[in-house]
């Protein structure tokens, strides 16, 4: 019986072959998607990096420390395209609107990647090609930003910045090489505040071919913990508004008479600053003016989640005495969290995917929005140990403690070492 929780992964498991990943994550290979990747496929690889023409191979002056100042340079040119015979891992991600239960009795309408929140974990080997078809089956626009990936500009998923947003019933194909290795994540970049809070976020693990972490701390099990928050009332209001706008725009798209009225100003879209200024002179009223908004309601998250669940429905982490486990922590929300483990110190080994110069010993690690941290927990102290955000606002459910970002590190062999107390669920302290 597998003791792994939702995102756990065994050592020696099939090395993220797309077929295996597809099956496990309910992905479907999709071959008939639209145009995004063709932007790349139709171009030669005349990129600034990786083709030998870039003058960035040496720093201008000697750096006083012994490190490679150009280590951030991508190993492969981001604007390359797949060569014949190179393996491409293919995924399909569909956005829908559905319901998600945070804790028993608390459900929320959310955007979902493949009917999941968080979205399915994508695991690919370092430097191999990844092709993801984003299929939008919701009434709102979406993109996917591959947070931490060094890729071609057109694949970065910023609406109006690198691509048009993907409208209802449209498909956009992302194609990039999985670099650099490490713990990353992906999220929708359309109206990010809402869309990420309302469900469109997932983990992206690029598995290093020569993993210094695994060499230093041999481990068999690992866990991903995506941290996020939601203001259920704000998300509900905004989601309703956005869905209404999306359905309206969709109706306009299908009606020639209404289509004539479609105008970028209705969406707040302008081709440049001058266009915006001209529109304001012409009577356009930006929505951020006080005459339009009054005093804005501050977003106040009331549920705090690990992998989409709040305590007591969070998944536990399991370990045995003498075992190392790797925990990938992802700041997938808008608030910092300070994850603390009782009864242990742990090693902070990677930040934003990259190995640190040396492991750092901690018992509390800050996880900032957009950041990822990998830690190694060593099984040195049998028992059942609290593992939680130490910013205690985040250990509440709708203001009631305990809740939120709390889970347990459970020794499977604790009893063997004399620990007999059984962890129980507490709803109200």
């Amino acid at each position: 019986m597998s003791i792994f929780r939702r995102f756990a992964k065994k050592k020696n498991e099939a090395p993220s072959a797309p077929e295996a990943t597809n099956s496990r994550r309910q992905f479907m290979t999709h071959l008939g998607a639209a145009a995004g990747a063709s932007l790349l496929l139709g171009r030669s690889a005349t990129a600034a990096f990786g083709d030998g023409s870039a003058p960035l191979d040496k720093p201008a002056t000697a750096w006083p420390a012994s490190f490679d100042a150009l280590a951030t340079r991508p190993q492969f040119a981001p604007r390359e395209t797949p060569k014949e015979g190179e393996k491409i891992h293919k995924f399909r991600i569909e956005v829908t609107i559905g319901e998600h239960e945070i804790v028993p009795g608390v459900k929320a309408h959310m955007f979902l990647f493949n009917n999941m929140y968080p979205g399915p974990e994508i695991r690919v080997p370092e430097n191999e090609w990844v092709q993801i078809d984003l299929v939008n089956s919701s009434p709102e626009n979406h993109t996917i930003h591959w947070h931490g990936m060094i890729l071609a500009n057109e694949m970065d998923g910023v609406p109006m910045g690198t691509q048009w947003p993907v409208f209802k019933d449209q498909t956009f194909r992302y194609l990039f090489r999985a670099q650099p290795a490490g713990t990353h994540f992906y999220h929708c970049h359309v109206m990010t505040t809402l869309h990420q809070m309302a469900g469109l976020v997932g983990s992206l693990i690029v598995e290093a071919k020569d993993d210094i972490v695994k060499k230093t701390f041999p481990y068999e099990r690992e866990y991903t913990m995506l941290l996020s928050e939601i203001d259920t009332a704000w998300a509900r209001e905004q989601l309703n508004e956005m869905v209404g706008m999306g359905m309206t725009m969709d109706a306009m798209n299908k009606d020639p008479k209404l289509m004539k009225e479609m105008n970028g100003r209705m969406m707040g879209w302008f081709k440049d600053k001058k266009s915006l200024l001209d529109a304001i002179k012409g009577g356009y009223t930006p929505p951020y003016l006080s005459s339009m908004t009054g005093a804005n309601r501050v977003i106040t998250p009331n549920f705090f989640m690990i992998n989409g669940k709040s305590y007591p429905m969070t998944d536990e982490l399991f370990i045995k005495y003498g075992e190392n486990i790797r925990v990938r922590l992802i700041g997938g929300g808008m608030m910092p969290h300070y994850i603390h483990l009782h009864g242990h110190d742990f090693w902070h080994v990677c930040q934003d995917g990259s190995p640190l110069a040396a492991p750092v010993r901690l018992n509390t690690i800050p996880i900032f929005p957009g950041a990822t941290s990998d830690i190694i927990i060593q099984g040195t102290n049998p028992g059942n140990w609290h593992f939680h955000d130490h910013s205690d606002l985040s250990t509440t459910n709708n203001g009631i403690h305990p809740g939120g970002m709390m889970t347990m590190l459970m020794y499977e062999d604790a009893e063997k070492y004399g620990v007999t107390f059984k962890d129980t669920i507490m709803i109200d302290s």
């Binding site: 609107i97 559905g98 319901e99 608390v106 459900k107 929320a108 309408h109 259920t232 009332a233 704000w234 509900r236 209001e237 989601l239 309703n240 508004e241 869905v243 209404g244 706008m245 359905m247 309206t248 109706a251 306009m252 009606d255 008479k257 209404l258 009225e261 105008n263 100003r265 209705m266 009577g283 356009y284 009223t285 005459s291 339009m292 009054g294 309601r297």
Partner: protein
């Protein structure tokens, strides 16, 4: 006056349109809020089950300030109109509403609403200033709603018309109260109601109700039930009202137990709806129609104003509204509302009227308004009202609307997400 689609009870946890809210003075308001605090309740009134002090309700305060300069207004132009001069500063129909709502077990919502509005009488600075038009408690779940107390007459909820005030052209736009003596026009809009509303898919609603229509004609001192009815209404999804062809439609039947000495029961059937002649986010044109047929009463001559409310008649009201919303933002509105009414058994009593209403938005919630109203009544009807046959009036003024919600915790039942996906009460 609102740019948005007309209010419907089913749109909100505690239903109240700004224009139908009422006014309370500042001192009264403070007292009201204080009474809403848990300790206030504990001191003021025993509750059957002690309140859980940590459970905070959602609070909403909404209001409308309507102030116009009326020129050429006939003192007795409207049924029961006050004794104003032909020109006046009119503050009637200004309103303030207070509401509290609470999420209940099993996803239901409980709410309490209280509000008052200014009457024509308030213009004079004496007499009755305020009318308690809302004071009801509501319970609603996904498929069921019941409410009890003073609120909008169920018959007044099928179609609302874009006139400046809710009582403009009321002879055509509302099913009139046969128990009213005509002194207070609000008696045709509000009543004491006990209602149960069932729905299908939160789109089609059946309202079964009993009422106490305010009985000033008979000077009844009690609040006995005197009206019984049922209505059906279909509403299109919210926020899509501008682009769908059919916005809403409905019909109803009402039995009013008028005494034999006043001609016997007065019954009414009514039907109406709103359709978009030109669906558009920028240049919307919609059409509102309401026909109400009153029958069963034997009144064959008008001896007083009350007779005009209960006699057999047919009234039809039609409004065409143009809403200009450059880039989707409401900016100005022009509407023409027209009505025609005839009586079955009373001759020389036909009437018709029209209101041309213009609104210009000055900012969020604040509008400049202007309206021209013309009404004509045949002799028998004019005599019953004690006024002239014709009325011409011009009104210009300002309207301020606001709606503030505190401690947001309850979403509307009829959200797009609830309509198109699984219903989630929170």
């Amino acid at each position: 006056m609102r740019f948005s689609q007309p209010y419907s009870r089913t749109h909100r946890p505690f239903s109240q349109a700004r224009r139908t809210a009422g006014v309370l003075s500042g001192a009264a308001m403070i007292g009201l809020l204080a009474a809403a605090a848990p300790q206030g309740f504990a001191q003021a009134q025993q509750t059957p089950i002690p309140e859980e002090p940590s459970t905070q309700p959602q609070i909403e305060i909404a209001g409308t300030g309507v102030a116009t300069l009326d020129l050429g207004r006939s003192p007795n132009a409207l049924p029961g109109g006050g004794k104003a001069s032909s020109s006046q500063i009119n503050i009637s129909d200004s309103a303030l509403m207070f509401g509290a709502a609470q999420r209940l077990y099993k996803g239901a919502i409980g709410s309490f609403s209280l509000g008052g509005l200014t009457l024509d009488e308030s213009n004079t600075g004496s007499g009755t200033q305020l009318f308690l038009h809302q004071a009801y408690v509501d319970y609603q779940s996904h498929s069921f709603e019941t409410y009890l107390g003073r609120t909008d007459q169920p018959t007044a909820q099928i179609v609302q018309f874009p006139t400046l005030r809710g009582d403009d052209l009321i002879s055509f736009t509302n099913i009139l109260n046969p128990f009213s003596n005509g002194e207070n026009v609000e008696e045709h809009r509000y009543s004491n109601v006990a209602a149960v509303t069932l729905n299908r898919g939160l789109s089609t609603f059946a309202n079964f109700h009993v009422q106490h229509l305010i009985n000033t004609a008979g000077q009844s001192g009690d609040t006995g039930l005197n009206s019984y009815g049922v209505s059906l209404q279909h509403l299109s999804p919210p926020t899509l009202a501008a682009i769908q062809k059919v916005v809403s439609y409905g019909a109803g039947y009402e039995y009013r137990s008028v005494g034999r000495s006043e001609g016997g029961s007065s019954q009414a059937v009514y039907a109406g709806g709103v359709i978009n002649l030109k669906p558009s986010l920028n240049n919307l044109v919609d059409l509102r129609v309401l026909d109400n047929y009153t029958f069963g009463n034997n009144t064959s001559k008008f001896s007083n104003t009350s007779d005009t409310f209960r006699a057999n008649s047919n009234a039809v009201a039609v409004a065409v509204r143009y809403l200009h919303s450059p880039f989707g933002m409401p900016s100005s509105q022009l509407s023409l509302t027209m009505g025609y009414k005839s009586y079955d058994k009373v001759s020389n009593a036909n009437s018709y009227g029209a209101a041309l209403t213009g609104v210009k938005r000055l900012g969020q919630g604040v509008d400049a308004v202007a309206q021209y109203v013309y009404q004509r009544r045949d002799g028998a009807l004019a005599n019953a009202y004690g006024g002239g046959r014709e009325e011409n009036s011009v009104q210009v003024g300002l309207i301020f609307n606001f709606d503030a919600t505190f401690n947001r915790s309850i979403g509307p039942r009829r959200s797009l997400l609830n309509l198109n996906h699984q219903y989630i009460p929170d």
